[in-house]
């Protein structure tokens, strides 16, 4: 069963994804990757990460971002950084 806190982060990420990719119908889950979303190229990735940083009030390092495999791992990273803040 997914960590309920991760699920909460995912629900907060959905409107961010919808805004960045200009798609109000977009859905994401733990396993979502760039290959699953139309328009998720390098520039969109930058806009996405910056939007996430602003929304959650966090700063990521380049190494942290490069290690992420999917949206679930992003949600876990957010939780870890919130816990250490």
């Amino acid at each position: 069963m997914p960590n309920v806190n991760v699920a909460g982060i995912i629900s907060q990420l959905i409107p961010i994804f919808c805004d960045v990719f200009d798609d109000d119908e977009l859905t994401i889950d733990l396993s979502t990757t760039a290959e699953d979303v139309d328009g998720w190229d390098s520039l969109a990735h930058i806009r996405l990460i910056v939007s996430i940083e602003k929304f959650f009030g966090l700063r990521f390092s380049a190494a942290e971002i490069s290690d992420l495999e999917n949206v679930g791992e992003m949600a876990e990273l957010i939780l870890r950084k919130q816990a250490n803040a």
């Binding site: 520039l43 990735h45 930058i46 806009r47 990460i49 910056v50 940083e53 602003k54 700063r59 990521f60 390092s61 380049a62 942290e64 971002i65």
Partner: protein, 138 residues
Amino acid sequence: MPNLALWDKYVEGMRVEWSFSFSREDMQAFSVLSQDSNPIHLDETFAQSKGFDAPLIYGLLLSSQMSRLVGEKMPDKNAILTGIQMEFIQPAYPNDQLIFSADLINKSDATHALEFKCMIKKFDNTLCRGLVTAVWRS
């Protein structure tokens, strides 16, 4: 591998500022390049009939200073413009002495994205304000 010594020259809170003006000849050149010959920008009588002191400087000509910001006023030549927003609050006229200022308000180490808050002023009056985003690639 990005040269982080160069990236470190971008510091949140840094400001760049310069003075500039546009002449009626600049306005003519922009009308040719943009294919916008609306008389509000080129005809004194027309502009005054609309309540302005003189022909208005094109908003996107004023915004060209955002290109100058990213292309020429950065610590290096590695920034690439990715977005602009601009509000035109008060009119600017040919030969007005204007000041463009930009403050770096967000620097993302994860993505090398930059965000600037910008303003164009004439004396103490804010004529335009906006945001510029860029990405840095060494």
